[in-house]
Symmetry: none
Subunit: 198 residues, 4 copies
């Protein structure tokens, strides 16, 4: 007997549980979080989590799918709202480093996710889809100064963002504005070089 559920209600229920799980993962780590942690955070019983996601593994995978989907949507919206190339670049950076707590929470979980994906084929698939999607967005940015070498530039832009984010996490007293500046200047440098070379 297939579960006869109201699809809308079920989706909302799951979304709430996934959000609670996201916070629990931030606090306890992807590998260290327990169903008890998540259940406590969500204010439900462990059984409820298993009921909705089949297993802990299923829940964590759902959280990560939602996580990368959310990122992609936010990035796309940021780029769409800006008009000039320079404004697009700034919106892109602002989106990556948006609020201290938010940025820390975001990259902490992302780092966990990356580490976990190196051993979990299902997570690796999610990560690869995310890489592909973000690469398409990066490519649009990289094309602005000219067509030649855009693909390489796109990978370099992303590397700058990811690399600064990793550093941000072990910065004992992070100054978000500084990371924004480092990022913006770095991206600018990467784009201008290739412009001249191309």
């Amino acid at each position: 007997m297939a579960r006869k559920v109201n699809p809308i209600q079920d989706r909302q229920r799951r979304a709430g549980l996934e959000q609670a799980a996201y916070l629990a993962i931030f606090e306890q780590g992807y590998a260290g979080v327990t169903l008890s942690d998540i259940a406590r955070q969500a204010g439900v019983s462990k059984g409820t989590l298993v009921y909705h996601f089949g297993s802990k593994e299923g829940l964590l995978a759902a959280v990560m799918r939602r996580f990368v989907r959310t990122i992609a949507v936010a990035t796309r919206r940021a780029l769409r709202q800006a008009v000039t190339p320079q404004a697009k670049l700034e919106a892109y950076v602002e989106n990556q480093f948006y609020g201290l707590a938010n940025t820390r929470r975001f990259y902490t979980v992302y780092l966990d996710f990356l580490a976990a994906s190196t051993r979990d084929p299902a997570l690796m698939q999610v990560q690869r889809a995310f890489v592909d999607e973000t690469h398409r967005l990066d490519l649009a940015l990289a094309r602005l100064p000219g067509e030649a070498g855009a693909d390489d530039r796109a990978w370099q832009l992303r590397a700058m963002v990811d690399g600064l984010s990793v550093r941000f996490l072990s910065d004992p007293d992070p100054d978000l504005e500084r990371y924004r500046r480092l990022c913006l200047h770095g991206l600018t440098a990467l784009l201008q070089l290739d412009e001249r070379a191309g």
Copy 2:
């Protein structure tokens, strides 16, 4: 009962166990590795590990200290052997992406380490010391084109390296030579831009 040991022999013993643990961490993950995994890899009993390191936590911390020390030593040596600025840059990149299996093993463990350090104060301390040490090396590279803005450039260089490495791990069919090229060109772009701007 105080351990009375020959310090030299003891150091060698521990070094061997730490190397085995490193391989076990690569295979099972920092969070997923068990004392049994490590004992199996090292060909000793679990008791031996606890005897030498006090606890699993102590062993893992020792592994990570050795890990970052090894990296720093290799980077320093690579930079010292090269003479011209351009050669230094190339040696730096070659050192970061040295051998497919090696690079994968290396960054897989590093990513695990970074993720774990966000929640473990002792590991975070190790990570911060490592960041400081590598920053000094990066700074030497960044100074080559001129003094102004060297600190910012150093962070950007490191970000490029780290960011490309992260991407490397989720690349389904990584071409090491391409990563070397992306890295070298990226670093060159970052250095030249600031040179002009400075």
Copy 3:
């Protein structure tokens, strides 16, 4: 809240659910079947099962009562339809080994039931009533060759049937016709011996 039901409709409803439960028990085992299994097989919700039978235990007991009742009815009818002693014996055997799938399903569940009854007093009561009822039928068969020792013979007849059935279940490639022959010849031997002895 007393259940107010149409007794006829209710009996039919329960009969259908019990039949579904019987099939689920065959597939999952008496001890291994879950309410979800049964609900799926019956095409209803778990709540419906509990509503009609009070609990899982009540449902299983009802299934087993129906099960032994069905067996007794079939045996009685088989014996009634045959006229001569020889024909009665053959009808008896044919009834026990009727169809490969049917025989396997039947004895698989019966074995489960027997095993469960050794620890469940309520089931043991059902099993004892069943033993008494079948013994009366066996006694009629055993009397055919003469009165003396009929009770002993009746137990032996039943033992032959049960014993061959148990073996049937672990036969990797059972030949139903062979079991019928073994059973018929075995019963004949048991009856004739005592005939001479009596």
Copy 4:
């Protein structure tokens, strides 16, 4: 690192745990027994059971292998000690119905085992090996009155034993002597008939 154990000590340790598990299975049922039940019966922790047998499943399989091995050994010894055909038959029956508590315990567990084996391929394999082995012994008995039809007779002998044993378990006030008599007479009848027929 393969477990370096003293094989003798390890075998004795396991044997003790298996015996405790056997008693726990008798009390709680094959499907109903828990690791806690067995640990309590054995006076060890649950962890110890898993340490020695890998899993609950592994432990139960070991218990059943030991169980059927013990039966086969006892039957073989009983038959070997007796000399004349009649004495062999009596020894066989005495071995099957040896002591009230013992017989009850024995068949209760055997019935559980049979029921479980219908759904567990590993157990079914154990059961089939047991059937083959006992059939060889039964065949020796069945050959005594002559070669013709010995195979059929062997199956019938075993059926009589198994069938009476099953009945024994639901007998509210079992008289062991009576079951011995029923069994001995039944077996005699089966053997004599075929002798005449052959």
